[in-house]
């Protein structure tokens, strides 16, 4: 019985709900713009990672290496683009 129960998926589902709730709190609670953006950015990245690993089964097949290389590459480009944009349009304007 216990092997059949998708424990990992259920935990993942609950965790992703929690992440969504935290992100939503930015709208309902009164906080500074910067704090809000930081919360959104961090929860978004964790959420994306969670979906990839738990629900899209990255890392469960033979081409794990290719998939993770791809994910890391994407992560680097995303971070560079976001922080580069923040630098250009806000921090160093």
């Amino acid at each position: 019985m216990s092997e059949l129960f998708p424990r990992k998926q259920v935990m993942g589902f609950v965790f992703s709900l929690v992440l969504t709730a935290i992100a939503l709190s930015v709208y309902f609670l009164d906080m500074s713009f910067t704090t809000g953006m930081i919360i959104l950015l961090v929860t978004a990245f964790i959420q994306a990672g969670l979906q990839l690993v738990v629900f899209m089964h990255a890392g469960e097949s033979k081409d794990k290496g290719v998939i993770y290389t791809n994910v890391y590459y994407a992560l680097i480009i995303a971070l560079v683009t976001i922080f580069g944009t923040l630098l250009i349009l806000l921090w160093d304007m």
Binding site: I77, G84, T85, L87, D92
Partner: protein, 646 residues
């Protein structure tokens, strides 16, 4: 009547009316011709519904050539307008529309399909596959590109062309300053063809990772396939940014949102930022496959293997990463601080290093090679010095402090044409001449080809080098005229002469096709250039299944290995599984065209109907049972004997 007034061109001229008549007549002539020669069935069965990567490649090629002439006509008009000071041939508005459509057509609808033509044709042949990973998706990519291209191209006769530059910067591109539907065309046509491009990216990456013949490890792939792999990785990471930016721009124009407005919390500079986050990687999407073609050609005609295979691959991987780290160099003057500009100056200069490595690799390949001066090789040899000039001026532009002087002048225009024409266009023409026999079974005439090369090269130098000088003297880009006193007259006249020489060169290409179709000998064998890689190991013309027996590859120069006794095709014939043709991709392309047209003119009811149609097509595909078909051993034997006999 009010309904129809929206479709009228807001700023008409006799030339536009003449174009309307010409377009009408051409359409009638095509329809009449197809009917008279009873070719509708042939067109539908063999081309519109095909999923064969080779035929899709040829359709990309034809589209690219057509668009080259559309963009070329724009170019000649611009150069003629600037040839003499205070010219009244075009007014400011027409000039704006022409430079906008020229840029978009050349980059998105000429260079991109040209590159896709070669990717489609060559990748499966170079890795020993029967087709791409998703043949049906490949056809959809083509028809989306084509729908987008046609939508964009009718703008100048229905509703008016976009006029905010190919970069379409806000707030200029917003509703306040661009009141016609032109910019809607820009947003939506690029959106549609961009979707096709993204799908091609995924398709090609999957093909290269999953469908290589036995023995072909990544490091044994021919260089063109490597360069395409990297270009497609860049596509997959860069194009979503364009998709999002275009969607936001569309919403600003049609639904009153405020992403890029100057009030209500909008940020106009965000458009420039997003555009170039996509835009700089885009120039590498174009140049890397061009580098791949040059590598193939230089190796073949130097009669030796490519020097420094590993460093070639490494430099391309590095370029793919660096190309995402430099985008700010397109707007050094936008007002951000010195720190930001310095960072991006340095990353930009860094990207010149791997590019330089490749130049040296080609030079070392030529070193001590037995060089044959064929037409493809002439283009490659012309490319090396000319492109280097483009790179060096790029590094000049990369110095952010100095860029305040160069930016938005003719100097910039000279730089990017100096990289794109000898870099991309020459590569495409070289590849076109080099692979023409593989595609069609006869060679293009070498003598006419050499004339073409010299006209294009001389024309190019005459047309663009004067712009470096006039740019440094302060001639601004995108200005429709200048006064006699400015002193640019002589240089601009030279440019016009150069452009005219280039135009003759392009016409010669068409003449060469005509001449060679009529007079070229047909019995040229499978490997007329004495090339070295796998795509030349199959018959000419290539049978639909590419290779009768899946090759067993030992190195990146499969055909050389055969000469040294390697058994490239071990085993015997077996039945071959092939995908079926389908009309769905073409139909989806037509629906997408209607969708886009309705969107441009904000006609919501047709838009909703077309959207439902698109989803219906996808639903149909999901439920469709299509297991492909088999080519029997008997059929393969027949084809093979016939092709061997020929």
């Amino acid at each position: 009547m009010e309904f129809f007034e929206r479709f009228a061109v807001p700023h008409p001229s006799p030339a536009i009316y003449a174009s309307m008549v010409a377009i009408g007549l051409t359409v009638i002539a095509i329809i009449a011709g197809l009917t008279y020669f009873k070719k509708w069935g042939y067109l539908w069965r063999e081309w519109l519904t095909t999923v064969d990567h080779k035929r899709i490649a040829i359709m990309y090629l034809i589209s690219a050539l057509l668009m080259l002439f559309r963009g070329g006509a724009d170019a000649i008009l611009m150069r003629a307008q600037l040839a003499v000071p205070d010219n009244k041939m075009l007014d400011a508005q027409h000039y704006n529309e022409i430079f906008t459509t020229h840029g978009v057509v050349m980059i998105m609808f000429m260079a991109m399909p040209f590159v896709f033509a070669f990717m489609n044709y060559l990748i499966p042949l170079q890795i020993g596959a029967r087709d791409v990973a998703f043949p049906r998706l490949n056809a959809i990519s083509f028809w989306l590109f084509f729908a987008g291209a046609m939508l964009f191209n009718i703008s100048f006769v229905v509703g008016g062309s976009p006029d905010a530059g190919w970069t379409s910067y806000f707030p200029l591109a917003g509703n306040d300053f661009s009141t016609s539907v032109g910019t809607n065309y820009y947003m939506i046509a690029l959106q549609i063809s961009g979707l096709g491009t993204l799908m091609t990216g995924i398709n090609m990456i999957t093909t290269i990772f999953k469908m290589r013949a036995p023995g072909m490890t990544l490091m044994k792939m021919p260089m063109f396939t490597w360069s395409s792999l990297i270009a497609n990785v860049i596509i997959v990471f860069a194009f979503p940014v364009l998709t999002v930016a275009l969607a936001m721009g569309t919403m600003d124009r049609l639904f009153g949102t405020n992403f890029f407005t100057t009030s209500n919390g909008g940020m106009d500079m965000l458009w420039a930022n997003l555009f170039w986050v996509w835009g700089h990687p885009e120039v590498y999407i174009l140049i890397l496959p061009a580098f791949g073609l040059y590598s193939e050609i230089i190796a073949t005609f130097s009669g030796r293997n490519l020097y420094g295979y590993k460093s070639m691959v490494a430099s391309m991987v590095l370029i793919s990463l660096l190309s995402f780290l430099v985008w700010t160099h397109h707007f050094f003057t936008m007002g951000q601080g010195a720190l930001t500009n310095s960072i991006f100056s340095i990353t930009t200069m860094a990207i010149a290093v791997p590019t330089g490595v490749k130049i040296f690799n080609w030079l070392f390949t030529l070193w001590k090679g037995k060089i044959r001066f064929t037409v493809p090789m002439l283009y490659s040899l012309g490319f090396i010095p000319l492109f280097t000039v483009g790179g060096v001026t790029g590094v000049m532009l990369a110095m952010s402090a100095a860029d305040y002087q160069y930016h938005n002048t003719m100097f910039l225009v000279a730089h990017f044409h100096n990289t794109i024409i000898p870099g991309v266009v020459f590569a495409m023409l070289a590849g076109f001449t080099y692979y023409w026999p593989k595609m069609f079974g006869f060679m293009l005439n070498e003598k006419i080809g050499k004339w073409t090369f010299w006209m294009l090269t001389v024309g190019f130098v005459l047309a663009f080098f004067p712009m470096y000088i006039s740019g440094l003297d302060g001639q601004a880009r995108r200005m429709y005229t200048y006064s006699e006193a400015a002193g640019f007259s002589m240089l601009n006249m030279l440019s016009f002469v150069g452009a005219a020489v280039m135009a003759f060169g392009f016409v010669l290409i068409v003449y060469n096709i005509y001449y060679s179709v009529r007079y070229s000998p047909r019995n040229i064998g499978a490997n007329p250039w004495n090339a070295r890689s796998l795509e030349w190991a199959t018959h000419t013309p290539v049978p639909e299944y590419n290779f009768a027996i899946t090759p067993n590859v030992a190195s990146s120069e499969a055909l050389r290995d055969v000469k040294n006794g390697h058994d490239l095709f071990p085993g015997k014939y077996e039945k071959i599984h092939m995908p079926n043709n389908s009309g769905l991709p073409f139909i989806m392309g037509v629906i997408f065209f209607v969708w886009g047209f309705s969107f441009v003119f904000a006609m919501w009811i047709p838009l909703i109907i077309a959207t439902i149609g698109i989803f219906a097509c996808m639903g149909y595909r999901s439920a469709e049972k299509d297991h492909g078909r088999y080519i029997s051993v008997k059929e393969i034997e027949d084809t093979e004997t016939k092709l061997r006999g020929a």
